[in-house]
């Protein structure tokens, strides 16, 4: 026990005296979590809370164009900036650059006439079904195009959101026109204004409710998603520090001396496992504390810690053990510090990608659903999400913790074989 304590003390002293290394181990993950959460939170706010600025050039002289602009406003998704005197698309694009808006929409001349014709055609079909066929109604719908200009930086999912909003506004205009025709044909013109508002007002609210295991109805935010994910990433990035320090020690004279001493080199490995697991847990404490106390101070959503803190410790502990074992494995097999750093860093990014840290697991293709299982980061992330997003407890974790433990044991056996093969023990 005294030998182990002396080795732990030695490893701790070396680690604490490496100021750059310590900075890398703590400051970098903190920055990573802070930046990613801020970015994702602002992206979430842009799409869901803030109104999207959009330039509108209405070249239509009729009512449908005006109704369309009004409908866009009613949807509540857009901040309408009308530009009345522009009739050429090139001018609109120039105005878009000038206004620094990311979106612009051009309502073409004659939009009202064509909308009216489509409404007439739809109304005619309705009358035909009801065996009422006023002769005055046209039956040939005319297609139309509304041009939407967008800045290339807008991502596809964001544009799809906007398209859906615009389509809803167009449907509102068309439906209104159809109703007007129907009422006029039935000589009920006076009723239109009275029921207009009623028709387009919806009393049905879509209430979002997360399906959590503990019945908690708090909607998860960017912090809740990002902090566990990027904490895992940071823990596994210990490979840069530990992997290369192991190689450095292997190549140093001190290792030569250690091999002549009456103590098994496995003790040195055990000490590294203990010290660096503690470092990983310290990373967890620092990052989670930041989420709980510092994030609200800078306008980010606060991190809600799970109620089952024992389970949280267990997941963090097993993840830390796995991350450190992975780093030891890399350190044992690498022959140079460059190999350890290069392979270590790239492999962690790959494992994070296939593990669902960079792209959510459910969004991955079917083939990746199988590959995902080999990434320890995946099992760790799933376990953290059970606690942070689903409100689960210790009993809900085993299906994620057992594979994580199995991977850890596998890596330990691999490291042992490597030590034996390289004549290090």
């Amino acid at each position: 026990m005294f030998k182990l304590l002396a080795t732990i003390k030695k490893d701790l002293l070396i680690l604490l005296r490496d100021k750059v290394g310590i900075t890398f181990l703590f400051i970098m993950p903190v920055l990573l979590v802070l930046i990613i959460t801020s970015l994702q939170n602002s992206a979430f706010d842009i799409v869901n809370k803030n109104k999207v600025p959009i330039l509108v050039s209405n070249n239509d002289n009729g009512t449908a164009g005006l109704q369309f602009v009004e409908a866009l406003e009613k949807i509540g998704m857009f901040d309408i900036r009308s530009i009345p005197d522009i009739d050429r698309n090139t001018d609109l694009v120039a105005a878009m650059h000038k206004e620094e808006a990311l979106l612009a929409i051009s309502i073409p001349a004659g939009f009202s006439e064509r909308t009216q014709q489509r409404a007439l055609a739809t109304a005619a079909k309705a009358f035909e079904v009801l065996d009422l066929e006023p002769n005055s109604l046209s039956r040939s719908p005319v297609a139309d195009t509304v041009l939407l200009f967008y800045h290339p930086v807008l991502q596809e999912n964001y544009r799809i959101n906007i398209q859906n909003g615009i389509q809803s506004a167009l449907k509102m205009v068309e439906s209104k026109q159809v109703l007007q025709i129907v009422y006029q044909s039935l000589n009920e013109s006076d009723s239109i204004a009275a029921i207009d508002e009623e028709i387009f007002r919806s009393d049905i609210t879509v209430l979002e409710q997360p399906v959590s295991r503990d019945g908690n109805k708090t909607i998860p935010n960017a912090t809740q998603h990002n902090i566990p994910a990027w904490t895992i990433f940071a823990m596994f990035f210990i490979v840069i520090s530990l992997g290369s320090s192991l190689v450095k020690e292997k190549l140093s004279g001190s290792h030569l001396r250690l091999k002549t001493l009456p103590t098994n080199y496995l003790l040195a490995m055990l000490s590294k496992l203990i010290v660096y697991t503690a470092v990983c847990l310290a990373q967890v404490v620092v990052i989670f504390s930041l989420g709980v106390w510092f994030f609200p101070e800078i306008g980010l959503p606060a991190l809600d810690l799970p109620s089952d803190l024992t389970a949280l410790f267990l997941v963090s502990f097993i993840t830390a053990m796995c991350a450190v074992t992975y780093a030891i494995c890399i350190g044992v097999f690498a022959n140079t510090q460059e190999q350890a750093n290069g392979f270590g860093a790239v492999s962690i990014v790959i494992l994070a990608a296939i593990g669902g840290i960079l792209v959510p697991g459910f969004a991955m293709p079917d083939s990746f659903q199988v590959i995902m299982a080999i990434s320890p980061l995946h099992w760790s992330l799933e376990a953290f999400y059970v606690l942070f997003l689903e409100g689960g407890n210790l009993r809900d974790l085993w299906q994620n913790l057992l594979p994580l433990l199995a991977i850890t044991v596998f890596l330990q056996v691999l490291a042992y074989i490597g030590l034996k093969k390289k004549n290090l023990i």
Binding site: K10, L256, P262
Partner: protein
């Protein structure tokens, strides 16, 4: 007449590096008595460091037997490893740690209790003139101070056999003098010294018996006094037996 037991006995030792065509150590036999001050000398590439690594267990022989004190080296037990100390040519310590911290760690790995480490560290640091810098990181030390701490670590457990691979390389006269004096002191206390170096004058000063090794074989061995009597000095003997051509 009292029979002196050997500290080291090597019988028919063979060793070949992986992929090498020739044996690096070929059918080597050697016996060193307990309490001897033995010099293993030879040109570059002769096999001195390889032999030292085989004796310390850093390499495994392909054939033959090594017996250190009362233990077979091919079946290393904790007691066997405790009986010797090793002072490698490369600095073998943690440069980020102070002399005291290094001695605490390596002392523990030699299996010494905390109190004994403390006492022995203070003693060694005093003898080797490192008391004033005992708490400073070794990386800030001069080459001579690093050599002394390298030696202190190898002898913290008072070994019965001490392997020294060029223990004074790159140091000034004062440090060499201090190291050689301390090694003689250790020997007087009963330790067997097995020393390699290219410093033949130093070898003449320290060693009582020597062996000249070349191409993995011992070409001459015996009492230094007798060998020098037959030649003008150790250097003449060395050049006579190993030639004047470059060896590396």
């Amino acid at each position: 007449m009292e029979v002196v037991k050997p500290a080291l006995r090597i019988e028919g030792l063979n060793f070949r590096y992986k992929g090498a065509a020739n044996l690096c150590i070929a059918d080597l036999n050697l016996e060193i008595n307990r309490g001897a001050r033995f010099g293993l000398l030879g040109p570059n590439g002769a096999g001195k460091t390889t032999l030292m690594n085989l004796l310390c267990g850093l390499l495994s022989p392909d054939g033959g037997k090594i017996r250190l004190m009362d233990f077979d080296a091919d079946n290393p037990k904790v007691r066997h490893r405790k009986c010797f100390g090793y002072v490698p040519q490369d600095f073998a310590f943690y440069a980020e740690l102070s002399p005291v911290e290094n001695l605490n760690f390596f002392g523990a790995w030699y299996g010494l209790p905390s109190e004994k480490i403390k006492k022995r560290s203070a003693e060694l640091l005093k003898i080797l003139g490192l008391t004033d810098v005992r708490n400073k990181p070794v990386k800030t030390f001069s080459g001579g101070m690093k050599r002394r701490i390298n030696l202190a670590i190898g002898v913290i457990h008072k070994p019965q056999i001490l392997f020294l691979d060029e223990p004074t390389v790159g140091v000034d006269v004062q440090t060499r003098n201090a190291i050689i004096s301390y090694l003689k002191e250790l020997n007087n206390a009963g330790a067997t010294l097995i020393y390699t170096s290219h410093q033949l004058k130093e070898a003449e000063e320290l060693c009582e018996t020597i062996a000249l090794i070349d191409e993995g074989k011992i070409i001459v061995s015996g009492s230094l006094k007798n060998l020098i009597l037959q030649n003008s000095d150790l250097e003449s003997l060395f050049l006579k037996l190993t030639g004047k051509e470059f060896r590396d």
